[in-house]
Amino acid sequence: MSSGRPMIDRYRWYEYVAIYCGMALFLTFVLAPFVEGFLVSLKPLTHLFSSPYRFWPDDGSFDAYFTMWQSVPLLGRYIVNSLLISTVATIAVLILVVPAAYAFARFQFRGAGALLGAFLAVNMFSGAVLLIPLYRLMRSMGLLNTYFAMIVPGVAFLIPSAIWLLRTYMLRIPRELDEAAWVDGASRFYILRRIILPIAGPGILVVALATFIGAYAQQFIFALTFNSKSEYMPLAVGLFAFFGKERVVWNELMAASFVGIAPVMVGFIFLQRYLVAGLTAGAVKQ
């Protein structure tokens, strides 16, 4: 490496070998299912069910990517549903969380600590624990088998982390800014809208991204239990029906999975920088 680097950061050749070998092992674990899943999507079904096992498809083709549209006719719907559910959930979370995070970051009132603790305690329950009463609640609100049955409960469990992350971000905005505006006679609401929100913009973006991914990656149990209409199903549940069949058509299932996650993966490639930076910053510095 460059000679300008301090000695402490220089590695000997065997250290390089060790680091890259370790990295290769680590990334193999993380990425193997994707690689294998992709190769499976290329293999013809007859070849797939043949022993002995062969890693590389020697007669690979993209056929499954065309035939799957007959087997999973609603795939396009599932993809849109997934994105729609996550987007609406993210917007709802932001509407609830931005004012709440501001309140926690800027105002000292009695019980503030306990209240923040109560919000964080919500994190300990998953939807699965409260499924029975939530099912009854959705039924009495008339939301079963609608998009809202999947959005409304999901939002509640996304609120705590979002509050925590955004509060952390807002705490770093210098108090002098809003105090100066307050002295100049600006109203509290004006300060929130014209001073805090613009400065907290990047933080809100990170929270929005993290919330979106949470909403997107975890949409399973509510969609499985509270909705039975295929046209409203998100990707995961739509394909689960396909997965649960007696004979799973693996190559088409994998092809549908890859097409299904493609939009989010493309978005991730563009936004990964914000995600990595934002999440780690919010996680450790308090």
């Binding site: 674990f29 096992y53 709440a100 926690f104 603790g117 990595v276 780690t280």
Partner: protein, 294 residues
């Protein structure tokens, strides 16, 4: 501007929508779970108060086994996540070419819908044609195909590994952030004194990321204890109930057999354990943050 009555009212007004939402969607169902657990609620219209009958019933069964199994499953999953996460964080922290790319490549399991990742693992565990069995046979570690999800013992570990896989990206990134917040001069001082790389890791990195490790373990513990998707998709709690954890057991009772009352009693038991974890979590976090303030 802070502390005055107007400020407090304003803060409460800002918090009101979020509080109301949580009260309706989390607090009310929580209370409802407790109430339901003392009834025989089911698909029938009539609901009768049955006192402790549901609790007597579940403890008459194999509930103790399920609790122990849940704890073992959770313990190994969290422990393996922390070990792999620490190794991953140390590797990603190394100043080698390509590390920005490696960091990005760590994230996909967390980005994709969990269920999709689990489908892929479902195939990997396939006995006749899956990757793991296939590769192990090619290497010579297995002499015949092994269907990982068909036997209780292997299915138990298979579901743990998949849970680890889903959890590792966040643990790794979090620990990486913790490592990066360690002041550089500590390492330089040790280096000047002739301390080797491993020594610096053991004596500087490891002790200083302990708070982050503890916090992450607690958070991971709570999430793993609640884990549903992985087991439900891969084994539905089978074979022979050998991967049935408390969450799966509750789901089967309540949603599978429509025994809402008995399911609620099982859910209450989960809540009790979670409250204990949560109590320790807050204790630990407040201890760590006061420790840092000193």
């Amino acid at each position: 501007m802070t502390g005055s009555r107007g400020a407090t009212l304003f803060a409460l007004a800002l918090l009101f929508p979020a509080i109301l939402y949580i009260l309706i969607i989390v607090a009310y169902p929580l209370v409802d779970t407790f109430t339901l657990s003392f009834t025989d609620a089911s698909l029938r219209k009539t609901v009768k108060w049955v006192g402790w009958a549901n609790y007597q019933k579940i403890f008459g069964g194999d509930f103790a086994t399920i609790i122990v199994r849940t704890f073992v499953w959770t313990f190994f999953s969290v422990a393996i996540k922390m070990i792999i996460g620490t190794c991953g964080a140390v590797l990603l922290n190394a100043l080698v070419p390509g590390r920005a790319l490696f960091r990005v490549l760590t994230l996909p399991p967390w980005i994709v819908p969990m269920a999709i990742g689990i489908f892929m693992w479902g195939w990997m565990y396939n006995g006749q044609f899956g990757m793991i069995s296939g590769v192990l046979q090619n290497v010579g570690l297995l002499d015949r195909p092994l269907a990982w999800l068909a036997y209780g013992g292997t299915a138990f570990w298979a579901t743990i590994i998949t849970d680890v896989w889903i959890g590792v990206p966040l643990v790794t990134l979090y620990l990486l952030a913790a490592i990066q917040s360690i002041p550089k001069d500590l390492y330089e001082a040790a280096w000047t004194d002739g301390a080797g790389r491993f020594y610096r890791f053991r004596r500087i990195t490891l002790p200083l990321i302990v708070p982050a490790l503890v916090t992450m373990s607690m958070l991971s513990l709570i999430a793993t204890f609640n884990s549903f998707d992985i087991i439900w998709i891969l084994t539905q709690g089978g074979p022979n109930g050998q991967t049935t954890t408390m969450i799966i057991d509750t789901y089967k009772t309540a949603i599978g057999s429509y025994k809402y009352g008995e399911g609620a009693a099982r859910a209450v038991m989960i809540c009790l354990f979670l409250s204990v974890f949560c109590f320790f979590y807050f204790r630990v976090v407040s201890k760590i943050s006061t420790g840092e303030a000193k």
